[in-house]
């Protein structure tokens, strides 16, 4: 490869810490969650529940920090959806990538997410995670519904929570794969570790 690259600092310290911690927590929540779902036996039901609940609180704590960080740094703007060049990016992943075309989007500190990522991660942040946290907390506090005046059904709560978990599995598979689509297969992963992304210079 002789392509010239330039380095941009995309992911700040907190962001990277948050990302990897969240990744680990969600993976472990998935592993314990599907044991609770009786998909397999690993830790044993009781341990799985205890772990799941503890991990859930860790995730909630992390999310609180992340929200604070996004709001105070203004980084939330990175997730404002845009259709600008959306079809170009989609076209790239559907067709162009096989023909070694250039990626139509250039990351920069001001705009580090391509329009497809913006949509996906926004959905992740405002749909899947809130659904998981809300249904998870409801599930956890099932015994208090009555005294708190909550009218819900446990079977539907569990159904949504499980649906969210399945969504996360598919997200995870595709997400991990997409990290390999940088200019080298590990480029994106490296960027999320070091903060520095190498992008091809024009």
């Amino acid at each position: 490869m002789t392509t010239a690259t330039i380095r941009v600092y995309l992911f700040k310290g907190f962001e990277r810490l948050w990302h990897w911690t969240q990744a680990l927590l969600i993976i472990l929540l998935g592993i314990t969650g599907f044991e609770i779902h009786n998909s397999y036996h690993l830790f044993g039901y009781q341990k799985a529940v205890m772990l799941h609940n503890t991990l859930a609180w860790a995730l909630i704590a992390l999310i609180v920090f992340a929200i604070f960080w996004h709001l105070t740094t203004g980084e939330w703007r990175q997730y404002v959806p845009t259709t600008e060049r959306l079809s170009a990016v989609a076209h790239y992943y559907a067709v162009g990538i096989f023909k070694n075309e250039k990626h139509p989007f250039k990351e920069s500190e001001a705009s580090k997410l391509n329009p497809l990522q913006r949509f996906t991660y926004l959905g992740f942040k405002i749909l899947i995670i809130p659904v998981q946290v809300t249904t998870g907390l409801l599930y956890m506090y099932y015994n208090h519904w009555h005294e708190w005046g909550i009218f819900a059904r446990l079977d539907l709560t569990a159904l949504l929570h499980t649906a969210g978990a399945f969504a996360l599995i598919s997200f995870f598979i595709v997400h991990v794969y997409m990290t390999t689509t940088g200019h080298t297969p590990l480029a994106h992963i490296k960027a999320m570790i070091t903060g520095w992304e190498e992008i091809e210079a024009d």
Partner: protein
């Protein structure tokens, strides 16, 4: 390579942070569980509580009964002893006469039924009516040999059967509640007349032996009826019963089955699936016959487990199996098979491979078991009985005492039961269960003549009930709540005893609620795994195309 180093450092911080967060949360849970180990109940159960030691302990009573002259007089009869007791305990007989131990009858407002041993039918020896002298050997009285028994004669109250501490006072099995005055044999066992002065001068609080003399032998033999009450509880290991074991709390029955004016708490005819006053404090009703009376409703250190106590009875997890003391209990009893003799015409009596009785000419065939897993049902404490006056549906097994409750019933909890199944005679024309006359020396008693027709006619006539003259056998089921033989906490059911596949779950058949691990939505699971497989497939196809494309590009 400075860049690589910082990269490693930054990577390290992730697991470190995670370990710290998770570790902190776990440490908190461990602390909570340590603190809860020193619960008040554990302290109460301390081994050196003198009030709970066995008979050979110093008495703490303020009265020494050996010093009472009235108890030194020569006693002709047991009734004389009762009179002597009543000369000081003036209200005792009157109190007893108001209790179910005397009346064998109780009105239950919830079902507006009058129940009790006197009235109900079961699927063991069916009914006491016309069989009194045999059954009333467990009556707290003397001489109830037939329906002419006068329930108002105070001297016929049997004080000794409950208050003897010598262990020498025994009622004869077929003498309507009386002991013998001459040495007498019963089924190869010798019954000697008690020394009434010795017994009367050594009365005291009722122990497990007193209550057990009747309650361990319900159904006519050791452990037959209840499954959680048998002679193994006289001196149980801690592994059998943490409360009654001398190595545990060494409780007597009356430590939980508290008495108010001789009325003992904890009748099975109307149970409390959960106590409304959770702790029984001095100003409460002095009814301590529920687990919560001492343990409260949130006794676990793990709050997740406490979250279950509104819907799951303590007994459900803490009595993993009943009949654990080695004494078998009857699980099935088929009266229809009764009346078969050996070839030589003698009474046939056989045992199974484990040595448990499986046939007797007098009673039919049985299945006896030890270490039995309970069945679980929603139960709010209300039991409705099928009496001999009630119409039955003979197309399916008749529930002799259907239990009430469902998930939606706030008073109901999942409760463990022994279900005793079998068949027994009924009237296929009138569609009622029938009362056979079993015991007696007359020519209608089944156990003498082996003629069901005569026996049933005699029993029904005796009870004043209509009988068509035809009989057949109908399948019956009877529910016995399991509440004794509480195991050490290490032996309690684990979460996955219930939270597992429907076919494995102990509560797999209970309906009306969602339970994690047991329940799931098949469609969602299918779609979810298909989506995951689809994503994987997409990734494989996409990456193959990329590899292919890049090769071509080169």
């Amino acid at each position: 390579m400075p860049q690589r180093k910082t990269l490693l450092k930054q990577l390290l911080i992730i697991p470190v942070l995670l370990v710290v967060v998770v570790g902190l949360l776990m440490a908190k849970q461990v602390q909570v569980s340590r603190a809860a180990d020193a619960s008040p109940v554990a302290l109460v159960a301390a081994e050196d509580n003198p009030a709970q030691q066995g008979d050979d302990e110093v008495s703490h009573s303020t009265a020494d009964h050996t010093k009472f002259e009235v108890l030194q007089q020569p006693f002709e009869t047991v009734q004389d002893v009762t009179n002597a007791c009543l000369s000081c305990h003036t209200e005792a007989a009157d109190q007893v006469m108001h209790t179910i131990h005397w009346t064998w009858e109780k009105h239950v407002p919830d079902t507006d039924q009058t129940l009790g041993k006197k009235d109900i039918i079961n699927n063991f020896c069916i009914s006491i009516q016309s069989n009194e002298p045999r059954c009333t050997s467990c009556h707290a009285g003397y001489g109830w040999k037939d329906k002419t028994f006068d329930f108002t004669v105070q001297q016929n109250v049997d004080c000794l059967v409950c208050h003897d501490t010598t262990g020498t006072y025994k009622k004869f099995p077929t003498a309507a509640g009386l002991p013998v005055y001459e040495p007498t044999e019963f089924n190869g066992k010798m019954f000697n007349p008690p020394d009434l002065n010795e017994v009367a001068q050594n009365v005291g609080h009722s122990s497990r032996n007193n209550c057990g003399a009747c309650h361990f032998y319900g159904g006519g033999g050791d452990g037959v009826k209840h499954g959680d009450l048998d002679s193994s509880l006289k001196v149980p290991d801690k592994s059998l019963d943490v409360h009654m074991s001398p190595d545990g709390a060494n409780f007597q029955c009356s430590d939980c089955h508290t008495a108010n004016s001789h009325e003992i708490a904890g009748s099975r005819l109307r149970m409390l699936s959960q106590s409304d006053t959770h702790y029984d404090l001095p100003n409460d009703d002095h009814n301590r016959a529920t687990c919560e009376s001492c343990h409260g409703i949130t006794p676990h250190s793990n709050p997740k487990i406490n979250d279950h106590t509104d819907k799951v009875a303590c007994q459900t997890c803490h009595i993993p199996e009943y009949a654990r003391g080695g004494v078998p209990t009857k699980m099935e009893w088929y009266w229809k098979d009764a009346g078969q003799f050996n070839d030589d015409g003698s009474i046939k009596s056989t045992v199974d491979e484990q040595g448990f009785p499986n046939y007797n000419t007098l009673k039919g065939s049985f299945v006896d078991e030890v270490n039995v897993k309970p069945e679980y049902y929603w139960f709010n404490g209300v039991i409705r009985y099928t009496l001999a006056t009630d119409k039955i549906d003979d197309t399916k097994p008749v529930e002799i005492n259907p239990i009430d409750g469902s998930y939606d019933d706030p008073n109901a909890r999942i409760y463990p039961f022994k279900v005793h199944r079998g068949n027994q005679p009924y009237d296929p024309v009138n569609k009622t269960l029938v009362i056979p006359h079993l015991f007696g020396k007359d020519d209608t008693a089944y156990w003498k003549n082996f003629d069901w027709g005569k026996s049933i006619q005699a029993g029904m006539d005796y009870a004043g009930l209509p009988y068509s003259g035809q009989y057949d056998f109908v399948d019956t089921e009877m529910y016995w709540p399991i509440t004794h033989m509480v195991a050490p906490k290490e032996d309690a059911l684990a979460c996955d005893s219930c939270h597992t596949d429907k076919t494995q779950s102990r509560v797999g058949s209970l309906e009306g609620f969602y339970m994690p691990a047991r329940d799931h939505n098949n469609i969602l699971d299918l779609l979810g795994w298909l989506a995951a497989a689809g994503s994987l497939l997409g990734v494989v196809v996409h990456s193959s195309l990329r590899i292919f494309g890049s090769k071509k590009g080169r």
